[in-house]
Symmetry: C2
Subunit: 271 residues, 2 copies
């Protein structure tokens, strides 16, 4: 069993049903040092308890998913709580998924303007907690119901008014692989010092109903994962590479097996 | 029963199971003057027979779907046949859906370069038949398996080397509604004289498995249809507005009922 690449981080949603203590011991057993966490399972296990467990076991929380969903009522209050949780977990990055259109609305420009407004309100609060808000552009197929930020260029434009230590971007291969501007925008993200976290997943078809759980295991699809990794590296980025795969088959596997498969594919297709 | 807007055109796939003679008599009965046809049902009914029927009934064939799928063997020969069919049907527009990645390939740049090569080979042939090749950017969720041309800007770049009478673009609200550059690119399409045909459908979620048949009836979704129509009109475009909706519920309706619903919604949400 080889030691994993030190940049490898297991996003918790890749092994969605693996309870936190098992995930932690499983990662430690395999020499994995980074984990991306989600607010819901952290809340369930307990925020302070999770933070303590990570610290005790020497695991780094590479990011927390997620803030955003700005079309919802109380979004600002909810995002402040998410920032506080990120700070308590000691992670430098809170991933933001902007949210889609408000119920019944067709005004995508207004929804996008709302994202900019919420960022302006939240960025200083994040900064004061040493947390960077990381805007994640999601694939355009999620534009109506999950995320009106659809390209990396758009995410960088939204980040532009704010200091990089307060607002950055997520680069996720699953969402960006199709974009003709992806590699130029990765270089731009580097030049503007916005690259908060790099995530990988593969693109496979046919997409399942609802298109949420159709992400592919690394190497199963058509994404040039290594090319993306090299482009991200070329900007000077030395941070974590999180594997975040939403996939029913993967979720049905025992956690240790899913982690082994993920590590093997990461070594074969990413680094 | 009011007379339909003269720009209204019924794309045949909206009433997919309506046999051509019934579709023709149904359109004539409702005062519809334009129809967008598809190669497969035309071949089934007979190319010459379809052309004659359209002429006899005074219907305009606003477009023929479709050429493209350049990743396939014999793509050039197949597209030449499609051009000849468009000419025989008397339609000025052959819609091109570029195709996705070749089986097993991850090289999206190569697939996109192949589109440019095929256009260079086919454009003069189209021109000599008085047919305009209309590049249709499809939603990025189809990039791997149906169409590596994902934005209007990309389609316009591909069209640029060719005379506008040989190569234009399709503007379809379903594919473009999410794009932050959509309205700028519509203006650009107008300025560069590339706007071959304008198609409308609405965006609804959740998407069905395979994401092919989830297009929404006009008004059921979140697309600013009227804003799109006005932007297209602002370029000086006076051509047809084709309604092209792939939707299982609509396909289950009797043709005349589906046409009535489509006409009503067109009047309510588009013009």
């Amino acid at each position: 069993m080889t030691v994993p690449d030190p940049r490898f981080s297991l996003n918790q949603w890749t092994t969605r049903h693996w309870p936190i203590p098992d995930l932690v011991s499983g990662c430690v057993a395999r020499g994995v040092r980074g984990v991306g966490l989600w607010r819901e399972p952290v809340a369930e296990y307990g925020l302070a308890r999770t933070a303590k467990l990570m610290g005790d076991e020497g695991l780094t929380v590479t990011s927390l998913c997620r803030g955003g969903f700005f079309q919802e009522k109380d979004a600002i209050a909810e995002n402040r709580r998410a920032i506080e949780e990120a700070a308590e977990l000691g992670t430098p990055v809170l991933v933001l998924v902007s949210g889609g259109l408000p119920e019944g609305s067709r005004d995508i420009d207004a929804a996008r303007a709302r994202v900019a407004e919420c960022l302006a309100e939240l960025a200083p609060y994040a900064g004061s907690h040493n947390v960077q808000l990381a805007i994640e552009p999601l694939h355009p197929m999620y534009a109506s119901d999950r995320c009106v930020v659809s390209t990396l260029g758009q995410a960088l434009d939204l980040a532009a008014p704010h200091p990089p230590e307060q607002v950055g971007v997520v680069i996720d291969t699953y969402h960006l692989w199709w974009d003709t501007a992806a590699y130029d925008d990765i270089a731009r993200a580097g030049a503007e010092d916005r690259l908060a976290v790099f995530q990988v997943a593969d693109w496979v078809t046919p997409l399942p109903e609802g298109v949420l759980t159709g992400r592919g295991m690394l190497g199963d699809g058509c994404v040039e994962l290594r090319r993306f990794r090299e482009a991200v590296e070329a900007t000077g980025y030395t941070g974590p590479i999180e594997v975040e795969i939403f996939n029913e088959e993967l979720w049905a596997m025992p956690g240790p097996d899913a982690l082994t498969l993920t590590l093997d594919r990461f070594a074969e297709h990413v680094v």
